[in-house]
């Protein structure tokens, strides 16, 4: 029992303990706002610029991190525990490289005081839920523990002032950010459905840039309507945003397109970060697909936000609710979901209904249910299967390209379950692409194989519709000469049951514009 006699008697030479402590940012104070720049990232440059508009509108200094580059992967790998998924490595590396550059230009102390980093988080056991653990490890590695990083919970619009009051996550900020994200999605839709068909190379990118800059100013000049319900009502009902989108639509009107180019329509799905990203992080796969004669259907962030607020899907998140009025809350949530869809459709309408509509979450759930339960959390959950089947049944794309980060936990599960889907629907063209960040050739050649078949189908459909309508390319060309409006980027081609744009266009001219009878 000798041990017990010494309990509590710290020997003289025994050093005090320094228990490991998780990273906690020191406060970002209200009075520091003018001197501090908020860094953020993780979406496309379009979304990020529009978000910047809102942040500037709210009088924050804000700057998106530079777009992800290949060497961010190495910088990330160097500083975090081995085995992370590539989105974690890339985004950590991007922050690391930015900070390293800044430190080289000034000093650690200055960088720690000049910047704070705002990142999404607090949404579960995986996904962004643990990103910040890697970020903090990287900050330790850089000797920048003093640098401040804050989490933005995705499911609370009004989180109040956090960590010292320098950043106040209130309704005007959250609504501005969400509207910015929705606008980023709408512009991405315009971009991807136009660029493959543009007559003058580079024009789409020019107009896109001008549109983003114009909308940036719209967000920056957004009028103040208070901090609570006034601002909510204004955001929902005002014409301020829809008028701005109409202006954007006019800009796109100038682009001439040739929709008789037969392209495979490829729907991008996958892990949230990877599918949204445009750059080295996913081998620039969207641009690559366009070069390979495809039209890309980009994944809107809006679908993820819709998933987050859908009452049936999110019931599980309210299991700890102590609300005295659960029914009322449920009704409110249902109303919110309807308002969300209504708002998105209002914005689409202002853009001549060109952007794709949001899929019905209930339908996604039902489609996925035999294969993947809708309450399984993590990543995109059941939506990956739901979206693939939705595109298949509704003929929205010739093929699905699912971007899956190497070692992603939820993605591997739904990809496995897709084997069952493919067993039932053998003609569904599905290309799961594992992205490690540094094995581009392998990934793209896998995609290429399925794409070849998708292109074959696109051409087959095009011939089929020509035959069905009795039209020829020459006949259509002549018609277009007489009706130049059909060659405008803003001329809407309705979806008439074909997966490809060219086939739908021919049928549209035949059916809706009476060309077949002419």
């Amino acid at each position: 029992m000798a041990q017990l006699t010494t309990i509590g008697q710290l020997p003289l030479n025994q050093p005090p303990i320094h228990h490991y402590t998780a990273y906690r940012p020191r406060p970002f104070k209200r009075e520091e706002r003018d001197k501090v720049t908020i860094l953020y990232g993780g979406l496309t440059w379009k979304h990020e610029r529009l978000i910047q508009g809102t942040l500037h509108n709210m009088k924050y200094n804000a700057e998106p991190l530079p777009n992800i580059a290949r060497d961010d992967l190495d910088a990330g790998k160097e500083l975090i525990d081995v085995g992370a998924c590539c989105p974690t490595i890339f985004t950590t590396g991007s922050l690391v490289n930015f900070l390293k550059k800044e430190v080289a230009a000034s000093s650690k102390g200055e960088v720690a005081n000049k910047y704070v980093f705002l990142t999404a988080g607090a949404c579960g056991p995986c996904r962004f839920g643990q990103y910040h653990e890697s970020y903090s490890m990287a900050l330790d590695g850089l000797g920048l523990r003093d640098f401040r990083m804050f989490l933005l919970a995705q499911d609370e619009l009004d989180q109040g002032p956090s960590g010292g009051g320098g950043l106040e996550i209130n309704l005007p900020l959250s609504l501005g950010l969400i509207w910015g994200i929705l606008f980023g999605d709408l512009l991405s839709d315009l971009e991807y459905l136009t660029r493959p068909y543009e007559i003058n190379p580079g024009q789409t990118d020019q107009v896109l840039k001008a549109s983003v800059e114009y909308l940036y100013r719209v967000f920056r000049e957004r009028p103040d309507h208070g901090a609570k319900y006034g601002t909510l009502a204004w955001h929902l009902l005002t014409n301020y945003f829809t008028n701005a989108l109409r202006e954007v639509c006019k800009m796109w009107d100038a682009i001439e397109v040739d929709r008789l180019r037969v392209k495979a329509r490829v729907k991008i799905t996958g892990e949230f970060w990877l599918q949204t990203h445009e750059g080295d992080g996913n081998y620039n796969i969207k641009r690559w697909l366009e070069q390979e004669d495809a039209e890309v259907v980009p994944p809107p962030v809006a679908v993820w936000l819709h998933y987050l607020l859908h009452p049936t899907i999110r019931k599980l998140e309210h299991r700890h609710s102590t609300s005295k009025h659960p029914r009322l809350e449920q009704t409110l949530l249902q109303a919110l979901e309807r308002i969300y869809r209504w708002t998105y459709n209002r914005f689409r309408k202002a853009l001549a209904d060109l952007p794709n509509e949001l899929p019905d979450q209930e339908e996604l759930r039902e489609l996925a249910e035999p294969f993947y339960h809708f309450e399984l959390r993590g990543g995109e959950g059941h939506m990956l299967i739901g979206k693939a089947l939705h595109a298949y049944h509704h003929k929205k794309a010739h093929m699905i390209c699912e971007l899956s980060p190497y070692s992603c936990m939820p993605n591997t599960m739904s990809i496995g379950s897709m084997a069952n889907v493919i067993g039932k629907y053998p003609d569904l063209l599905y290309a799961p692409i594992e992205v490690k960040g540094d094995s581009e050739v392998h990934a793209l050649s896998r995609c290429q194989m399925i794409l070849t078949e998708a292109k074959r189908r696109a051409h087959e459909q095009f011939q089929e519709v020509l035959k069905k309508t009795g039209l020829t390319v020459e006949k259509i060309r002549k018609y277009e000469e007489r009706h130049p409006e059909t060659r405008r980027a803003t001329h809407r081609v309705p979806h008439l049951g074909y997966s490809g744009t060219a086939a739908n266009y021919v049928l549209h001219l035949a059916q809706d514009r009476g060309l077949a009878r002419a």
Partner: protein, 403 residues
């Protein structure tokens, strides 16, 4: 073909007609995988309460490479961590490897877990792969044809939040009512019986761990804590590394069953609560802020417990190859443990093959360090704590410990 028709064809439905109400002849096979390792007491009691006899509840065997080869070959649909990948072998064994055929294959999708940290952490949900593993694995048995139906087996995979007891009856009733011909009341009774059995087992196991610690305290002996996920108890997943150490005379504790008695945790965490570092002994926010995942949270708490508890002089961390949940925890857990000089050894990237020779050499190294430094570690850690050690007097006199 109308889209609606296609959809109804592939609706989730039991592979064959539901079994009769008399359940005495029903035979249920449970895949011994993932978090079934920490909740099987619930499932056994639940089924027994429904009238299924003990001998008709069968578990698949421990994971082994032979099992995978014989029963799971060609059924894998994706490459991932071994604890999930190996499930194909378990399903296959239950379908093809039973002398007496099973009628139902039960493989729950466990969404949340009961946890000693409940109420002190943000959530207690499982890893996304633990939840979704069954959906992934079942695909390998359905992709070409319905192997379950061909073998007259109903595949049942209820989604269940075992960490949120108020939801469990409804969840199991909804998902299993057709499988077992259930009514709501009997489901509620069975759920209650399940939790009673689980709680009683956990209490006993925690008491057993306390007895071991008390024995160590009274005899000045060190012990080892295993920081791992519950399924590392499976000899085919954890490769019995802890067994090799135990063979050298060191008692083994598993973090899942660490004692949580007030007197003990208050003693260990007294200083932390006093200084405001944490709000309660079960608070882990000082070391891990994204406390959603039940098993990860407990690993963090286990590491905190170990670094403070004098007689735990060594921590063995087990982790499976390609485990995305463990990945961000490696450095924090090591730093937590080593803060007081407690020994920390990690066996990472565990896969299907037992790295025999490698383990042997490492075990010898660990034993060497343990014998050399344990005494000093115990003394040092005791120095950090108050003299009122609740383990000084064993609460139970029958604390017989076999090492």
């Amino acid at each position: 073909m109308p889209f609606q028709t296609l959809r109804t064809w592939f609706e989730r439905k039991p592979s064959v007609a539901p079994p009769p109400k008399d359940r005495s002849q029903l035979r249920v096979g449970i895949a011994r995988v993932l978090n079934v390792w920490s909740t099987h007491q619930f499932w056994v009691a639940f089924l027994k309460e429904l009238g299924i006899s003990s001998e008709n509840i069968v578990f698949s065997s421990d994971t082994s490479e032979e099992q995978g080869r014989e029963f799971g070959k060609g059924r894998g649909t994706v490459d991932c961590c071994y604890p999930v990948k190996c499930i194909s072998g378990h399903y296959g064994e239950l379908v093809f490897g039973q002398k007496k055929k099973i009628n139902i294959l039960l493989s729950p999708m466990i969404h949340s877990l009961p946890s000693i940290l409940h109420g002190h952490v943000v959530d207690t949900v499982t890893c996304t792969r633990v939840m979704a593993g069954p959906e992934n694995i079942k695909a390998g048995f359905l992709k070409e044809r319905d192997v379950f139906a061909e073998n007259d087996i109903v595949y049942a995979s209820p989604f269940v939040s075992l960490g949120d007891r108020h939801m469990v009856t409804e969840q199991l009733f909804t998902s299993l009512k057709d499988v077992f011909d259930l009514d709501l009341e009997e489901t509620a009774r069975a759920v209650q019986a399940g939790f009673q059995a689980l709680d009683s087992f956990t209490t006993k196991a925690r008491q057993r761990s306390r007895d071991i610690l008390a024995w160590c305290a009274q005899n000045g002996k060190p012990c080892i804590l295993v920081l791992a996920r519950p399924y590392h108890m499976d000899p085919g997943i954890g490769h019995e590394i802890e067994g090799e150490l135990q063979a050298h005379g060191y008692p083994i504790l598993w973090l899942q069953y660490l004692p949580g008695d007030d007197d003990l945790v208050n003693w260990l965490f007294e200083e932390d609560v006093k200084t405001g570092r944490i709000k309660s002994p079960f608070d882990i926010s000082d070391v891990w802020t994204s406390s959603y995942s039940s098993n990860t949270n407990e690993i963090m708490w286990g590491a905190k417990f170990a670094t403070r508890c004098p007689w735990i002089t060594c921590v063995i961390r087990l982790s499976s190859y390609e485990c995305g949940m463990d990945q961000p925890t490696y450095t924090p857990s090591q730093k937590i443990v080593e803060a007081t000089g407690t020994l920390y050894f990690k066996f990472g990237d565990l896969d299907s093959t037992k790295p025999g020779g490698g383990i042997k050499i490492r075990v010898e190294t660990i034993v060497h360090y343990l014998s050399k430094y344990s005494e000093e570690i115990i003394q040092r850690k005791l120095g950090y704590l108050s003299p009122d050690c609740p383990l000084a007097v064993a609460r139970r006199s029958d604390a017989a410990v076999s090492t």
